[in-house]
Symmetry: C2
């Protein structure tokens, strides 16, 4: 197993432990035991629990940013871009279960040194969504709203799912995202939309 | 100061401490010191930290349920009831800052014995909102949606504000609630609505 693979494995296991047991209640011992490596080896990869926390955050937001930036080059319409963002977030509820709670509930525990870069990335992602809304208003698709507030409404709908989403539920992440998107884009539409779901 | 007043004071101070320092990092000592009472006296009111946590939860959800139930007798239209729910939640971001994070992030730490009653109250509140949506569909105001999913979208928009709402921001809770409501009810409207904001 390469160094990078091992690092990734530690991050994933730690995210699951933090999610299940709580960040404060999880020790480096617990993490080492779960991954099956001795504590000195664990410290070879990460100088402490907060470094693992920082890596979970970075992995999570980088994933969202990359998906979004790759898409920007595809020239999708604003409406379509919003749907893809909502799908991305909802799918993380399933693929990165452990990361999600940690990302939302433990950003204040990040090492001081990592906070500005992380805030910067979060802001960048939020701004990309607000920008898509602004573009949609400019091209006449959306009515005139406060784009930041509308973006926060969109994030709220999707992010909040970490509180209730269950992989065993009847709807897949993409289906939920689609229904939320349908509410959202009708909600900010400049002109009434045809019945697309229901 | 009456017993009840003292209890209320402990709950409020503890909620603020939990919010600022994290639930796991706050001790009964910290709480006693902040309220200005000795630890034995504190234990006279609460058998432990998790009992205070339970009281914070109870106070929070009871407040929402009471406001909502009082309103049900007023015979408001479903649309109007949804607005009032959204206002209630947004206003708690300002009036019960400390309670909010604790309520959303620490329900898993509640004493086992308190969990069923608390889950019951949360479910009751969620069901009341889903019911208003269902009624709106029945009376032709709203289109046919999955009422539970639509309720979760509404809660997401509002509840998520605990992550970003700042009392020093330009908009008051009621103004934010109104803009979110406008997105939401247009989003589930059966017929296009006139431009009411923007």
């Amino acid at each position: 197993m390469s160094l990078d693979d091992r690092r990734a494995e530690i991050i994933t296991s730690a995210a699951e432990l933090f999610d299940r047991m709580g960040y404060s209640n999880t020790t480096m011992d617990d993490i080492g035991r779960t991954v099956g490596i001795a504590k000195p080896t664990l410290y070879h990869y990460f100088s402490g629990k907060d470094q693992i926390l920082a890596s979970i955050h970075e992995e999570f937001i980088d994933l969202l940013l990359e998906k979004n930036e790759r898409r920007q080059q595809a020239g999708l319409a604003p409406e379509q871009r919003l749907l893809e963002v909502m799908v991305d977030i909802m799918e993380l509820m399933e693929t990165h279960r452990g990361h999600v709670r940690v990302f939302f509930e433990h950003h204040r525990e990040l090492p001081e040194a990592d906070q500005p870069a992380m805030r910067d990335k979060r802001d960048r992602y939020e701004a990309a969504v607000a920008h898509a809304i602004k573009q949609g208003t400019a091209d006449g698709t959306f009515r005139d709203t406060d784009p930041r507030l509308a973006a926060l409404a969109l994030f709220g709908m999707c992010n909040w799912a970490y509180q209730w989403y269950q992989a065993s539920g009847p709807l897949r992440p993409r289906e939920i995202a689609y229904q939320f998107w349908d509410i959202f884009v009708r909600g900010i539409a400049a002109h009434p939309r045809g019945q697309t779901a229901g």
